[in-house]
Structure formats: structure tokens, C-alpha cells
């Protein structure tokens, strides 16, 4: 793997250095520094305690959203990127996490801190249930089973469980608190979402380096050969489903408590597809892939398309093509550009942004040589 390429003269001298994630001092300073910068950002925004206006307040909401989505997509990455099982139902698992946390908090009076692990575990168990067909089917057939999950789970939430979930109507979720502290404001919630996201990213990276992670990768690369080598394919597939749903559950809980109001329209098949697209754009099978993909797609969707493309194209398109209505452009441009970008990535950069980041890192480390 490319991760082992270092400038000449840099060697591991202890075992702890050999297994650590940050092997050189520069790595350590860079990663810790980045984390500190992330922690400082809300203090510099308009609503921060210092009252500075260096960073626009809109960024805080965007970063929280990115942090939550990174968790969900990292879950998908474990299942799709590392284990090679296609899932079209990830949004449904996120919905399970969100709704179970909301119900725990409303009906049983769980605090956010108790609801988070409980709901995540419950989602993991639901994920196990829908992973069961992987005993008999794989590839496209398994994708169909997860597609079924994407329709069955929201139906269960909407109709039989309507007493608990309010059916199609929005469900209020209480504000997370810790002693006297309240996390109602997005700048406060930032300090829950971002560290949790970083922690789960590191956890995923470590899982992949263990025996379990290597088993996942062998199943992805050739499941029959993996079985012949003595790997219990079914057990590891179930573990992948469990982990994936666990991550989805955590993301769901965070979505529930961040928005303070839940409705089923958020968790459609479209969201599942968006998760997959983010994963591919970022790079499936790279631990940093979800971060790149989620950031790219969210910045594009939340900032660039509404603020740049729509004003620019809104004037030009109706003049070029007379049959286009101005009103339709706003709702049409998002899927159109999204589809276009996905097509371009699938053809030109099927391994995603993370792959190119790796190439860049290697080129940087061995400079001034080209190979």
C-alpha cells in the first residue's frame, strides 16, 4: 500500500511506531493541529462566545452536516468499499437510528448520551437482520435485498408504528443536554458531532487494519477464494452489515438531535443513492474517501449550486433553449449536475478523490523525483 512510502531515511525504530497511525512527527503535528483547528472554528464565527466574525455562521451548520454524513458514509464504506456488498438501503438504517433515538428520548426519557449507544446498537441489530439474505445471495441479488429494506423499513415506521413515530407527520425530538449545558445551538452541537465523527473515522481505520478488516477485504476481492482459505464468509459479512448499520445508527441519532424534528421524507431511496454517490466520488475502499466525498457533494449542493450555478444559468438557459421554464431550473439543476458529476467521476476517476490524494501524497514525499 501507498501508506508505506516515506522519504528515504525515515524508518520505524519501535513497534509502537510501526503500528501507530501517525508514524512520523510531521504526521502527528499535522493531524493534531487539524483537529485543534476544527475545535477552534466555532469560536471564530459570529455566534461564538468571542463575537468574532471571521468565519461565516453558515459554515458551522455545513460542517456539522458534513460530520454527520461522514459517519453514515463511513458505515457504507465498511460494507461497500471494504467488504464489497452493494447496499441500496443505507438511508433506511439511518432512519432506524434516528427514530429509535427519538422514541427512546420521548417515551422512555433517555438522555441523548444514553440514547446514542442504545439506538446505534439497535440499528446494528436491524442491519444484521437485513444482512441475513447474504447467506444465500450476493452481488446484484443482495443489492435487491437492501433495496427491499429501503422500502420495508420506512413502511414499518410510517404505518404499524405510527403511534410511536407520528407516521408521516414530523416528530419533535428534545434538545440534548449535559448537566447545565444545552446543545440547542448548532455551534454547541458542533462539539458533539465533530469529535464523534473524527473518533469514528479513526475507529473505522483501525478496524480495517485488524483481522476482521483483512477478512472484509479478502471477501471483497474474491469471496470464493476467501472461503477456501478458511474465512467464515457469512460471519464476516454479517459483521460488516452490523458495523455498517451501527455507523448509520450513530449518524441517524445525530441527525435526529441536530434537526430536533424528524420526518420520513429525509430518508428516501434518493438519500441512499446520494450516500453511494458520495462514497464513489470520495473513493470507496479508502478510509478518507467518505470525508472527501461528503465534503465535495455537500459544498457543491449547499453552496455552489444555489449561490453560483442557479443565478448564472437561470438567465442563460431560458434564452438558449426557449422551451425551458425559469421556475423549473431551481429544482432541476441539482439532480442534473449531480448525475453529470457522478457520470464523469465513474468514467474518468472511478477510484475517487481519495485515490488522487494518495497519488499526490506519494509524489510529494518522493519529490523531486517523479517515480
Amino acid at each position: 500500500m501507498s501508506a508505506n512510502i516515506r522519504p528515504s531515511g525515515v524508518f520505524d525504530v519501535t513497534y509502537s511506531q510501526d503500528i501507530s497511525l501517525n508514524r512520523t512527527r510531521t504526521d502527528k503535528i499535522l493531524s493534531n493541529g487539524l483537529f485543534l483547528v476544527l475545535l477552534v472554528i466555532p469560536l471564530l464565527a459570529a455566534d461564538g462566545p468571542l463575537g468574532l466574525n471571521i468565519i461565516p455562521q453558515a459554515w458551522i451548520g455545513l460542517i456539522v452536516r458534513i460530520a454527520i454524513f461522514v459517519i453514515a458514509v463511513q458505515g457504507l464504506n465498511i460494507l461497500v468499499g471494504y467488504t464489497g456488498q452493494i447496499s441500496l438501503g443505507h438511508a433506511a438504517f439511518v432512519a432506524v437510528g434516528a427514530y429509535s433515538a427519538a422514541i427512546l428520548a420521548r417515551q422512555l426519557g433517555f438522555s441523548f448520551w444514553a440514547a446514542l449507544p442504545t439506538a446505534a446498537l439497535f440499528t446494528g441489530l436491524v442491519g444484521l437482520l437485513f444482512g441475513l439474505p447474504s447467506l444465500r445471495v450476493k452481488g446484484f441479488y443482495l443489492a435487491m435485498a437492501t433495496l427491499a429494506a429501503q422500502f420495508i423499513i420506512p413502511w414499518l415506521i410510517r404505518y404499524p408504528l405510527a403511534d410511536l413515530t407520528n407516521g408521516s407527520r414530523p416528530l419533535e425530538v428534545p434538545v440534548p443536554t449535559l448537566g447545565p449545558l444545552s446543545f440547542a445551538h448548532e455551534s454547541a452541537f458542533y462539539y458533539i458531532a465533530v469529535p464523534l465523527s473524527v473518533f469514528l473515522m479513526l475507529a473505522a481505520r483501525n478496524i480495517i487494519r485488524t483481522r476482521v478488516g483483512r477478512a472484509f477485504i479478502s471477501i471483497r476481492d474474491n469471496d470464493l477464494a476467501a472461503e477456501l482459505l478458511g474465512i467464515n464468509v457469512f460471519a464476516y459479512k454479517l459483521q460488516a452489515f452490523f458495523l455498517s448499520a451501527l455507523y448509520a445508527g450513530v449518524a441517524g441519532v445525530l441527525i435526529a438531535f441536530n434537526d430536533n424534528s424528524l420526518s420520513l421524507d429525509k430518508f428516501t431511496l434518493g438519500l441512499s443513492i446520494e450516500f453511494l454517490a458520495m462514497l464513489v466520488i470520495g473513493g470507496a475502499g479508502f478510509s478518507l474517501g467518505p470525508l472527501f466525498g461528503v465534503t465535495f457533494v455537500n459544498v457543491l449542493n449547499q453552496e455552489i449550486i444555489p449561490n453560483r450555478f442557479i443565478p448564472a444559468l437561470g438567465g442563460v438557459l431560458p434564452q438558449l433553449l426557449p422551451f425551458i421554464d425559469r421556475i423549473n431550473i431551481i429544482s432541476a439543476l441539482s439532480p442534473l449536475l449531480f448525475g453529470l458529476i457522478l457520470v464523469v467521476f465513474l468514467i474518468l476517476a472511478p477510484r475517487g478523490l481519495a485515490h488522487h490524494w494518495e497519488i499526490f501524497k506519494i509524489a510529494w514525499k518522493i519529490r523531486p523525483f517523479s517515480h
Partner: protein, 395 residues
């Protein structure tokens, strides 16, 4: 130990016993609910289910055709349906299309069709002549003015548009991915569906458009809808909506036409050959690349037909792509490679839907849940479907 060996050797009896047990439980659960229903309602649901299933069969056939030819599962089929229906609607409801627009559409389609296997084909005079004649004929057909020509105009426009869409999707999105893993292909069709979503939204907006292709039924003197008053014998009125009936009949005709095409024409037979084994077909001189493009064009035609029929039976709306997803349970139930299976699967899914709506009213159980429960059952019990091929794998 002895028990384990006993179970292992008599596995098939245990499986059968488990199956019978599940069926019995299902019967115990559903039986009382079924017995509560009036017979007229049951007949009504059966008829409506079969009629609805006809269109599902047509959608399923389109998905099977692409899967057989190229091993791709087309999640964009629903949007291709809606696009075909909307193009048909545009030509159908306008008083006439400008000659320039029609000519451009025809020319683009002909160029795409001629260059299926490579741009070199455009240099041959014979091809150019054929292309020119086709372009002119299509342009004239599409640009025919007036109300009396609306069916011809709409059909020509929709066929041209569908072929163009199918060829373009194959050329620009599927062909560059040949040799890539299944995941990339699945995602590509999803990306195409997003693209088509954007295109339809941009051009037609998100309004619901009624497509009155079955307006002529009123002229035939048939009652609308057809009613059978069986209140004395079965306790109710059975209503058959004529639009649905005609859509069903036309869907079956289209289905039969495509099956005959695959069974008896040269192109159809070569396509089946190419689907069977691409490398072998290539050594025998079949042009596999052309076959792939043709398969996508045919699937687009099938999608367009289904879209027009469904639009005529109900209306053209953004629900249609979700409807096409219901054809996936039908495809898996019938077997991924089986054309006959698409028909049986489509009809069964239609039936299951209507019956679920009858037995569990007020929960959308039929439209949202039942097909996917069937899908899960198929995957667990018999992943190859009713008529699919068993797969044997090697490393």
C-alpha cells in the same frame, strides 16, 4: 452426532416441512381476513391486479432485455419510461412541431444509429443514403401538422426520441464502463436516472400531465367504465376501467411482438447469441458492440411503450419511476434471464399488490410494501426465480 447426520441426509424433507409450516402459518393468519371479504371484491382485485400487472410485465421485459444483453441492471428504466411518455405527450398534444426541431431530432438519432459500431460507417455512401432517406421520412412524419395526424406524429416522435435516448445512454455512460465491477454499473444507471430526472424536470417541470391516448374508446360505443352488476350473486359491482383494459391488451401485444422479434428475426437471434456468450458470439462474427447498442435502443422503446400505456391508464407524473422499481421484484420472481418469467412475474406482482390493498386497507400495503416482501421471499427461498438459470461459480 447421529442426529446431525440424520438431519444432513434428510435435509430436503426438513426444508419441505419448514416450507409447509410457513405456508400453514400464513394461511392461518390470512385465511380469516380473506374469508371476511365479499367475493365481488376478490374478483375485482384479481382482475385489476392482472390488468395492472400487464404493464409491469412490459417494464420487466425491458429490464430483462438489457440484463441479458449486457449484464447491467437498469435502475434508470423508470425515468426512461417517463421521458418516453413525456416526449409522446409533447408531440401528441401540440398542434404541430416545427420542421427544424423535428429534423434536428431525426438527424441526431440517425447519426447515432449509424455510428453504433464506430464513426467509419458514416463514410460509406450506402449508409449515408439510407440515413438521409430515414431522416427525411422521420422528419416528415414528426412534423405532420394538425389534429388528425396526432397519433402518427406522436408515435414517430416518441420512437425517435426513445431510440436516441437508449443509444446515447449506452454510448456515453455504459460503454466506457465495460469491464468495470458490478458496483460501478449499478451506480452508473443510478447516475443516469438522476440525469434523466434533471432533464425531465427542466423541460416539463414536476406537474402531473394527463395523457389522453385512450380518448377514442369513447367513440367505440363501449361503456366507460365497464360495470358488471352482480349484487345478487356475489354481493357487489365489478368495475373494469376501459383505459386499464386497453393498456393491458396493448401491453400484451407489445410483449408478444418483442418476443417474436427475439425468436424469429435475424437481429433478435444474434442478440440472444451475444447475450449467451459475448466472446463466442464475437468469434462467430456477430458484432457484439452493435448488439449492445441495439439492446439499449430496444429497452428504451419498451420503456417508452410502457410509459405511454401507463400514462394513458393513469397520468404522467413523477410517481412513474417508483412504479418501475416495482418491476424489479417481478424480474427476480420470474428469473433474471427469462422473458416468459418477466410476464409471469409482472402479473403476479400486480395480483399481489391489489390483494394486499384489499386485505390491509388504509396502509398502502399493496403499493409500498407487498412487492418488496415478495422480493425478500424470493431471495431467501429461490434466488434464481421461477424460470431463471441456476448459477454455478468457479474461482
Amino acid at each position: 452426532m447421529i442426529l446431525a447426520t440424520f438431519i444432513e441426509t434428510h435435509k430436503r424433507y426438513f426444508t419441505a416441512a419448514a416450507g409447509i409450516l410457513v405456508l400453514l402459518l400464513l394461511l392461518l393468519w390470512l385465511g380469516p381476513i380473506i374469508l371476511e371479504q365479499r367475493p365481488a371484491r376478490m374478483i375485482q382485485s384479481t382482475i385489476t391486479g392482472l390488468l395492472v400487472g400487464g404493464v409491469y410485465a412490459l417494464i420487466a421485459l425491458g429490464i430483462v432485455v438489457i440484463n441479458k444483453a449486457s449484464g447491467v441492471f437498469n435502475f434508470a428504466h423508470g425515468w426512461m419510461m417517463l421521458l418516453g411518455g413525456l416526449v409522446f405527450y409533447t408531440f401528441f398534444s401540440s398542434a404541430g412541431v416545427s420542421l427544424l426541431a423535428a429534423g434536428a431530432l431525426a438527424l441526431l438519432t440517425v447519426v447515432m444509429a449509424l455510428s453504433m459500431a464506430g464513426w467509419r460507417a458514416l463514410r460509406e455512401p450506402r449508409n449515408l443514403l439510407i440515413g438521409l432517406v430515414t431522416t427525411i421520412v422521420l422528419t416528415i412524419l414528426m412534423a405532420l401538422p394538425g389534429q388528425e395526424w396526432q397519433y402518427v406524429r406522436a408515435l414517430a416522435g416518441a420512437v425517435t426520441g426513445a431510440v436516441l435516448a437508449g443509444l446515447a445512454i449506452e454510448r456515453f455512460t455504459i460503454r466506457p464502463l465495460i469491464g468495470q465491477p458490478l458496483f460501478a454499473m449499478v451506480l452508473m444507471t443510478l447516475a443516469v436516472s438522476e440525469l434523466l430526472h434533471g432533464v425531465t424536470q427542466l423541460t416539463w417541470g414536476s406537474v402531473e400531465l394527463p395523457l389522453q391516448v385512450f380518448a377514442w374508446i369513447g367513440d367505440l360505443g363501449l361503456p366507460q367504465p365497464i360495470r358488471f352488476d352482480v349484487r345478487e350473486t356475489l354481493g357487489g359491482i365489478i368495475i373494469i376501467r376501459t383505459e386499464l383494459l386497453f393498456a393491458f391488451a396493448l401491453a400484451l401485444v407489445a410483449f408478444a411482438a418483442f418476443v417474436l422479434f427475439f425468436q424469429f428475426t435475424n437481429v433478435g437471434l444474434s442478440m440472444r447469441g451475444a447475450a449467451e456468450d459475448q466472446r463466442l458470439a464475437q468469434t462467430l462474427g456477430l458484432r457484439v458492440r452493435v448488439m449492445l447498442a441495439v439492446a439499449w435502443a430496444i429497452a428504451a422503446l419498451l420503456a417508452m411503450t410502457a410509459g405511454v400505456l401507463q400514462g394513458g391508464a393513469t397520468s404522467l407524473s413523477l410517481n412513474m419511476p417508483l412504479l418501475a422499481l416495482l418491476a424489479f421484484p417481478a424480474v427476480l420472481l420470474g428469473g433474471l434471464e427469462s422473458i416468459g418469467g418477466a410476464l409471469v412475474g409482472g402479473l403476479i406482482i400486480g395480483l399481489v399488490q391489489e390483494w394486499a390493498n384489499l386485505l390491509f386497507p388504509g396502509t398502502q400495503a399493496g403499493t409500498e410494501l407487498a412487492p418488496y416482501v415478495v422480493l425478500m421471499a424470493v431471495l431467501v427461498v429461490r434466488p434464481d426465480g421461477l424460470f431463471g438459470q441456476k448459477r454455478i461459480e468457479r474461482i
